[in-house]
Symmetry: C2
Subunit: 186 residues, 2 copies
Amino acid sequence: MNAHNNRTRRPFVIEEAVAILSRTPSTLDALLRGLPDGWIAAHEGGDTWSPFDVIGHLIHGEHTDWIPRAKIILEHGEAKPFEKFDRLAQFAESRGRTLASLLDEFAARRDANVRELASLDLTEADLDRLGRHPELGVVTLRQLLATWVAHDLDHVMQISRVLARQYTDEVGPWRAYLRIISGTQG
Amino acid sequence: MNAHNNRTRRPFVIEEAVAILSRTPSTLDALLRGLPDGWIAAHEGGDTWSPFDVIGHLIHGEHTDWIPRAKIILEHGEAKPFEKFDRLAQFAESRGRTLASLLDEFAARRDANVRELASLDLTEADLDRLGRHPELGVVTLRQLLATWVAHDLDHVMQISRVLARQYTDEVGPWRAYLRIISGTQG
């Protein structure tokens, strides 16, 4: 399969990344706003996350992860490792808030960050610049921005799975056909 | 864990099912409408499906699967097996169409079907009525309707995964953290 016909991989193009990043808040808004509370608090057992927890996590990323790390790369390169990302910050930050207010904040922060990304006017050479992840080591700005996109989609997938699995028992024998419940990949 | 605190399973409640079913068209619209063509046609290799293919499959389900099967259960019970569902119908039916027209049709059909579901005014006794799946055997109307919900979410998950995996190479070392790409469940 040549590159032209390859439908399984796309090269990073900043306008395409922005097209997806800009759509995540409205996607999650359409999926979640107004759902009964029990669905918003649903999880997969143990310390797994609910849709409510995930939106808080995405907000925390808007504040501390993607654009701040991009700026560290542009200003300091490999010399300054990124701050570690706190994967549990949302449990304190979202306490007492409503899902509606979290969705509003996520949309506003994402909009501001996508504008800030545009204002950086990144060149291909900028995208090749190197930074240092505290655990993964040397990374490029391009990899950071591609990860921002994939991370959004990872959490859309997670929320869909958390919701669907609430009906693990209710679907009865159809369980065998539903990969989202059976856990098989297809 | 008692039933009241159980956040991993919810009983089937028709108003809650309708809340999710009603949101799927706008969720997929927000995620996909206007994305560059290469993303709409993206897939996971071989005969896996693209987002375009999935929307066609969802439309076919609106025409031939969920409500038609519910009516077979209500009218014939176990006596009449469901028609087999054609999992490949969308490849002919969607040919030459635009994603925008498929999203419009899905939204219109889903809206009509949710109204028809409401008009059936189903009781708990109706939900316990039995039907016959051509492969799975005896099922209940409740299981059919719960599967409609989980099936929607399964395809939201699939589309998210197909899109994210386009950046399998571009995310570099972050691949290890992205379950949507690494394929591990979390």
